[in-house]
């Protein structure tokens, strides 16, 4: 049953500290949806929960009809739930190619060959640097590597957390323009961003999170020319 991602009444936090207070969110199969919000709103927490790094205290998360809340991250990866984490999180001491190999963990070496070829074609610089420690790459190159790991992992549900973090605006724009080219059309995407302008260009729908609660849910069309309205939704000023 292809129903995409469905989150209902999700509550989750750290230790006894609840951060998300009952979130409802839906991403249809193949849809590109943005999750926006200011610093500390809880966006990353939502993604970490979908990926299985955090266990919901309440509510449900289903992907294509199957309950996935609290699943083991490795099982989710097997199902095709792939996250590109905030801050890129490459393995700094492993070389570029080993980083990519990890993304194929537990899968056949043939798939890796295929994946490497695809990735190196898209980012030739990674091939050039494939024996170099990933920690020595520039921020932009690390983001390429992080995205490449996701490409190799063959996502069905892709979760991208603040691709823009710490990168030059022009570079970020490049990445966004490439996204459609990097992942197949039918990948379901939930994209976390602070930079609403870019996200809205790429996503057809968006949610705004403030202090762990949804404050706005809308089509991107309606806000493309009205970023100030969005700004107030972020910050809670009317």
């Amino acid at each position: 049953m292809m129903t995409g991602l469905e989150i209902t009444n999700l509550k989750v936090g750290y230790s006894r500290n609840e951060v998300i207070h009952g979130l409802d969110l839906k991403v249809n199969p193949g849809e590109k949806v943005a999750l926006l919000g200011a610093n500390g709103a809880g966006k990353s927490t939502v993604l970490r929960t979908i990926s299985g790094l955090l266990t919901p205290t309440e509510g449900s998360i289903t992907f294509n009809g199957e309950e996935i809340g609290g699943s083991n991250p490795a099982n989710l990866v097997e199902m095709g739930v792939i996250q590109v984490p905030e801050g890129r999180r490459v393995f700094p001491g492993l070389n570029v190619e080993d980083n990519l190999k990890v993304a194929n963990y537990g899968k056949s070496p043939d798939l890796l060959e295929e994946g490497l070829e695809a990735v190196y074609k898209k980012f030739p610089i990674l091939q050039e640097r494939r024996k170099q420690a990933a920690g020595l790459l520039s921020g932009g190159q690390q983001q390429m590597l992080s995205l490449s790991r996701a490409i190799i992992a063959k996502p069905k549900l892709l979760l991208i957390d603040e691709m823009s973090l710490g990168l030059a605006p022009l570079l970020v724009k490049d990445f966004y323009e490439q996204l459609a080219d990097l992942f197949s059309e039918d990948v379901t995407l939930l994209l976390v961003e602070q930079n609403a302008g870019l996200a809205l260009k790429y996503c057809s729908r968006f949610y705004v999170l403030r202090n762990g609660e949804l404050v706005l849910e809308s089509n991107s069309e309606d806000y493309k020319d009205n970023p100030t309205a969005l700004q107030s939704a972020y910050l809670g000023v009317d």
Binding site: L53, Q83, F91, P92, L94, D98, K101, V102, Y105, G106
Partner: protein, 295 residues
Amino acid sequence: MVDYIQIAWQGLVSGFAYALIGLALVMVYKTARILNFAAGTMAGISGFLAHWWAAENDMPFAIAIIFAMIMTAVGTYVIERLTVRPLIKLGDFLPIVIMTLGVEELLANVSLLWWGGSAQRYRVPGDIDRINWLIGDFRLNAWHVVVAGTTFVTLSIVGYVINQTELGLGMKAFAEDQDAAKLMGVKESTVSIWTWVLSALVGGVTGIVYAPVLFLQQDYMNIIFIKGFVAAILGGFLSLSGGVAGGLLLGELEAFTIKWAPREFAAALPVVIVFIVLLIRPHGLFTREKGHERV
């Protein structure tokens, strides 16, 4: 000149033990961020098991060792599942370390009950630990050659597992960034169990090959454990090869100190070295300071 070669060789022979235990400790610390205080006692039990099967149950020497290694792996599996696993979920460093101390205490008492407090000789086929060759003035003990060979083989196997297998890649990824590794499908429980088992096997090999050198007694691996710990610190505790190098270095320092200084001083040497290293290079002698920053 021969004198120096003799001392250097002596240093290597002790250094191999420190290197192997250092490696076993670093392995678990690096991947799981756990200090395993039971490593020495666990290694000693491997030695006892091999001895027990060979000497008291008349099993052939090699088979007894294989049995001991299998038991080491199984026992470690059980220890990891029962004591480490439940605590990992809490995500705290201290409880697990304290748990390993508890395991150490428990195993030490079990081995005391089983084998008693007396020292026993671990017999090897042909008593080759009593064979000494003279090459000119250089005296070479046959068992020490076995020790060196075993160390070499063990290090090669570990190197192979870490660098050439998918499991090793998972361990390295996990060591670098646990969450990122999980997000790539590396299973925490698999990595944890194999890291513990591999580490215990390295320790077990050490316990067995050093049993003829040290005599079997209840806590015969404790001193090696302490020096393995120093080796790990010298290597920065996060580098496998650093731990090995640290062990060899410590062995040499010790051997040459005994030559030139009173024995009592040699005994204090590890502590002195750790003190100096921590003061001057807290990240270890063989690892560079972290050159990268994470956002």
